[in-house]
Amino acid sequence: MRAALSRLRVVREPNLAMTARALEESAEGPRPLVPMAGGTDLFVYLNAGALPEQDYLDLWHLDELRGVIDTPGGVRIHALETFANLRRDPLVKRRYPALAEASSWVGARQIQNRATIAGNIANGSPAGDSLPVLLALDARIRLVRFSAPRDVGFDTFYTGYRTSVRHPSELIHSILLPWPLPGTRQYFRKVGTRLAQAISKVVIATTITVQKGRVTRARIALGSVAATVVRVPSAEDALLGEKLTPAAASEAARRLRESIHPIDDIRSTAAHRLRVAGRLVELAVADALR
């Protein structure tokens, strides 16, 4: 019935450079290494027998991949930052309250102490709690390989269900969150089946920038409604140039319901997700009015 941990093999290299080299070398071979950080997603799939036999590359000990750093372009969050840290980090709490909030909704405390932001990104579940926030915040992902780093906008990171532009030879190094514009309100809400430790039915993150009473920039990002986390440009456009009125909000909600196509699964139904997603947009707008 069950494939066990007996399939697990782990490789550990002493530092980032050697880790990156091991990854790059294995990518060419028959058994590419799979990077592993806190392991909180991986163990779920391993125990469910849902993973093929493969070898893992342990990253947990690589302190080079830790730290939340203030830079001129924004805040750089390194790959192995755990959600427990992000939930409490003063800089994150002040500048990206939606990310701090989302971090507090990831799993439970035991999970938050192990789960990392890069793990959430690399795992690529459309239900990943932090991912809509990263989308709404215009995050950029730094990928590294032994030979060269590159930066990718998070809005172009995923190519499909649990697939991304990350090459097997690349590691997620860090995430850059640009400074929020003045007048920006961030919103996050997770709707799950249970209050503690539940995978979402719908998760939303928005950033709405208002200058001189009109919306100048809007990001509406959703999780658990498509194969990847998604932004909904048509709904964002509905708000642009508008005052934050219930009419604008319901127009955004209407367009959102037209542009997303969620599915039925064990956690909810497509119809329910559509209804709730629309209402969440309206609630996000109402929140921005405060």
Partner: protein
């Protein structure tokens, strides 16, 4: 599998260097390399939190951390919390507040709490709820866990046993010295410290491990099995298939033994057992399973009880003509004349309600350990069981072993709720494999395997019809229930009867008709689950009663009070109601809940609802024909006179019988509770007790214990009478003294008398036994099911919030008034009620095992099958009403199961009050509510909607 790696870390303050495999988890490191078995294995997916340890002071799930990743860190397990034998104040607080039942989640819970108080010494209730969201407790001791953590500082520097018990929890006026007091749980200190050993914590020399291969098909014939590859794998010691097991079928009800230890030729559900392997370790056993090649001929399958009934449906047990048409059990009961009753009614309404397949989901997985002794041959079987006696009988019968050669030991059990009340393939395969290999064999289910083994709640499709007079009097009830039983019988015959028999116990029903049909389907078998068969029909009944009260413009309480059961009644289906304070529970719950101010008057989105329930205090008849008394006890007074040992086979699975039974012994003997030792649940030490099912232990075990204590007491009073020069009949015992009733100052030390009695005549032993009255029940087929010496009654009122945006329901606060007779221990009593309420909330709002079109389970884990967490815990006020049951020990009856029964209907009624959506299909999900709300908003239906 790669070379071993050296890991150095500090565990509980000690430096350790260990060679482990790269894939060894931190959990296995502490459990197997260091034998720190307080760290429990509950789900292996980071969901239950039972394996929580502190890593550098922070809680982590040790099942998800590789041992190599813990290298260099400081790890604290539960064993590291007590210092020089003194429990940590937090551990003492847990014991004193009754913040644990089965204890399996307790170490993880306490460690999460420890991390909290280390960062914030005075946490708020909200902090606690936030931090403990990742520690699931299926007994749902959550309210007491919160209290314990809030008060932890009070226990600093205080020895455990000197703190006063909690008199504020006493609801009833009784003059007892021990009964009615919230004494410390007998098993509490061991469970908070990680000392309690559950079956999978036992380590024996030479122990090997077994695993079972399960069918991937819902219905198929086995064409061939090739075990050659598995047998060749190094480390494999035995492989067995259907060809190696007896022809004898086993099960629960003698009329329907329908399971082979391993499938002989046909598999009937995904998960049906096909082969088993014993190997030097679990990894090797699992690898061997993958090498077994089974050729199947796949057959059409049926997954729906009503479909299974249709002509032409695939036959699941074609070999037995009794099961033609896939009907496993048919009940046809007709009491009185329902047509006449409905004709007399002013309102008749019939509605269909549908329940869900819910799973007991104890945090401890099933486990068995078998060892054949070299002398004899004799077998010792350790098992996570609720029913050691039935297990012993069934192993003997199925494997043709003399019952006298089998010793069954029940170690600590981490919750059961019915799922551990039957013999499992683990038990039987472990015995066979141990005999073949000559080694002790440990077998245990993974969380996923538990879901496939199942034996959870039957999904019931219920067509219920009630007739009411204008004043609310019930004139007739008709119920037709189709139960989805899955592929085997398990407890299902009894379930089908219970679903009908318990309806007339709560309200007076003059005419009653019940047609029950339990169907075989190609799904995992359903069994007995807390409130056996009753919660769903009661949900239907309480819902329909409210709907009809509204039709008639009556208050739901008035309708219930008008029909409420009264003491000394024989119901229409010939059940004898002894004590009954149901009316009092209704009146007091109505008052305490503020019903008059709230019903129909709360703002939209807020609602209040009532539901009622009750259950048997032990089944009137055993599962198999047997003349043994149902409960038996022996009390041995130690030669010192300073202590007694209670020998009883009652199975404490967390409900607290190892505490309540010695309380009853101590009360009757007149000695303090802490002088009683327990020798429970080892068949070589304790005489037969039928086990922990049908809420039977307090009444039946209690009566046996009380009788044994009376026996001892009479012997001692004779000795004391001689010493004091008075008639033994003039004497009594209390608080460790024997004295003259009329002159309490004239007396003698109990221990002194007991030692003298031993010196005079050798061991002082008392015995007691209990069997229910043999006159119970009517003379009709199935008339025994539902009989009991006594019944519990309760009224439950809850307030809910419905989020009108998302349909999300929160139960905010509730009151429960229960008539359970005399409360023997208020701490365990209210713990049971609170746990039942929370489990009921889960069953109503969250839980449903979902099957895919191929019969596989879509949510066979605690990740997708969600049970209530501490965050779902409402404010619960639990009150025991004044009541005395003449057939119970000191007036006691049951609480453990009846407390769950009223919850489902009450929440459904409260949701309707909050938003006008009536959901008749469990669970009441946000999806169903929002759909109802949308229909409402569209004006397509009236303000009140049925979903």
């Amino acid at each position: 599998m790669g070379e071993e790696i050296l890991v150095s870390l500090k565990v509980n303050g000690q430096e350790r260097a260990l060679a482990v495999k790269p894939n060894t988890t931190l959990q296995d490191l502490v459990r197997w390399h260091l034998d720190l078995t307080g760290t429990k294995k509950g789900c292996e997916m980071g969901e239950c939190g039972a394996c929580t340890v502190l890593m550098d002071g922070r809680p982590v799930n040790s099942c998800m951390v590789l041992a190599v990743a813990a290298s260099g860190s400081e790890v604290t397990t539960i064993e590291g919390l007590s210092v020089n034998g003194d429990l940590h104040p937090l551990q003492k607080a847990f014991v004193k507040h009754g913040a644990l039942q089965c204890g399996f989640c307790t170490p993880g819970m306490i460690l999460s709490a420890k991390a909290l108080i280390d960062s914030k010494a005075d946490p708020t209730e909200e902090d606690i709820r936030q931090v403990l969201g990742g520690n699931l407790c299926r007994c749902a001791a959550y309210p007491r866990i919160v209290k314990a953590i809030l008060s932890w500082k009070e226990f600093e520097g205080v020895p455990l046993d000197t703190r006063p018990h909690t008199p504020e929890e006493r609801d009833q006026e009784r003059d007892h010295a021990v009964v009615g007091h919230g004494v410390t749980r007998y098993d509490g200190p061991d469970k908070v410290s990680g000392r309690a050993r559950y079956t999978s914590d036992i380590r024996l020399p030479g122990m090997i491990f077994g695993k079972i291969l399960c069918s991937p098909h819902a219905h198929a014939l086995i064409r061939s099995i090739d075990t050659t590859g598995a047998k060749k794998l190094p480390g494999v010691l035995a492989v067995i298939t259907g060809a190696d097991v007896p022809e004898t079928r086993y099960g629960v009800s003698p009329a329907r033994y329908d399971e082979h230890v391993l499938a002989k030729e046909r598999v009937r559900y995904v998960g049906d057992e096909v082969a088993a392997v014993a190997a030097v370790d679990v990894e090797t056993a699992e690898r061997a399973l993958r090498l077994i090649q089974v050729e199947y001929e796949v057959l059409p399958a049926v997954f729906d009880a009503e479909e299974a009934l249709k002509p032409g449906a695939p036959l699941i047990h074609p070999e037995d003509p009794r099961y033609a048409g896939n009907v496993n059990t048919r009940v046809e009961w007709n009491f009185g004349d329902v047509d006449k009753g409905f004709a007399e009614a002013d309102l008749v309404r019939e509605e269909r309600f549908v329940g869900s397949r819910t799973y007991q989901a104890p945090i401890e997985p099933h486990a068995s350990l078998a060892r054949w002794e070299h002398h004899g041959p004799k077998l010792t079987l350790w098992s996570a069981t609720q029913t050691p006696h039935y297990l012993q009988q069934m192993v003997a019968r199925t494997l043709d072993i003399p019952v006298g050669s089998i010793r069954v030991i029940k170690p600590a059990v981490g919750g059961g709720f019915g799922v551990k009340a039957e013999t499992t393939p683990l038990d039987l395969c472990a015995v066979i494999l141990a005999r073949m290999t000559g080694r002790p064999v440990m077998m245990k289910y993974s969380r996923r395997e538990m879901f496939y083994h199942f034996r959870g709640r039957h999904k019931q499709i219920m067509d219920l019809k009630i007739g009411l007079k204008r004043d609310g009097s019930i004139t007739a009830v008709q119920s037709r229930i189709v139960l989805d039983g899955g592929a085997y019988t398990s407890y299902g015959v009894i379930t089908a009867y219970y679903a009908g028999s318990m309806i007339p116990t709560l309200y007076k029903i003059p005419h009653y008709k019940y047609d029950g049909l339990r169907m075989y389907t190609n799904l995992p078998a359903c069994g007995a689950f807390r409130g056996h068969g009753v919660p769903q029909p009661r949900f239907a009944f309480e819902s329909l009663l409210d709907m009809m009260a509204e039709d008639l413009g009556l208050d739901p309480f008035d309708v219930r009070i008008r029909n409420a059961m009264t003491p000394g009644t024989r119901t229409c289906n010939a059940l004898d109601i002894s004590s009954c304070e149901f009316g009092a529970t209704l009146e007091r719950a109505r008052e305490a809940s503020g019903w008059a101010q709230k019903k129909g008057r709360l703002p939209r989105g807020k609602g209040i609802g009532v539901g009622c329930g009750g259950f048997v205090s032990g089944a009137g008849y055993p599962i198999y024909r047997s003349d043994f008394p149902h409960s038996n006890a022996m009390l041995r007074v130690h030669e010192s006179g300073q202590a007694v040992t209670l020998h009883i086979a009652a199975a404490d699975i967390g409900q607290g019988s190892d505490t309540v039974l010695p309380q009853i012994a101590a009360e009757e003997l007149g000695i303090p509770y802490d002088r009683v030792w327990m020798a429970a649940c080892d068949s070589t030490l304790s005489p037969v007790d039928l086990g922990s099912y049908s809420s039977r232990v307090t009444l039946m075990g209690g009566n046996a214990v009380k009788m044994a204590a009376t026996d001892v007491k009479n012997k001692l009073l004779r000795v004391a009478g001689r010493r004091l020069g008075c008639d033994p009949a003039a004497l009594t015992c209390r608080d460790g003294r024997i004295f003259v009733k009329e002159h309490p100052s004239v007396g003698i030390d109990w221990a002194e008398v007991a030692a003298a009695a031993f010196s005079e005549g050798g061991p002082v032993v008392g015995t007691g036994s209990y069997r229910p009255p043999t006159t119970l029940g009517g003379d009709f087929k199935g008339g025994t099911v539902g009989t009991s010496p006594a019944y519990s009654f309760s009224t439950f009122v809850c307030e809910v919030s419905v989020d009108l945006e998302t349909g999300f329901v929160t139960v905010d606060r509730c009151v429960d008034f229960s008539d359970a007779g005399t409360v023997v221990n208020p701490v365990t009593f209210h713990g049971q009620v609170e746990g039942g309420v929370i489990m009921g909330i889960g069953e109503t709002l969250l839980e449903d095992v979902v099957h895919r079109a191929d019969g596989t389970i879509a949510n066979p884990n605690l990740h997708d099958y969600l049970i209530p967490s501490i965050r779902e815990t409402p404010e619960i006020i639990s009150v025991a009403v004044e009541s005395f049951e003449p057939r119970g020990p000191f007036g006691a009856k049951e609480i453990g199961e009846g407390c769950l029964v009223p919850i489902l209907g009450a929440i459904a009624n409260a949701v309707y009050d909050a938003c006008g959506v009536r959901v008749k299909e469990l669970p009441i999900t946000p999806e169903k509510i929002l759909k109802g709300l949308q229909l409402q908003a569209a004006g397509r239906v009236a303000a009140r909607v049925e979903g």
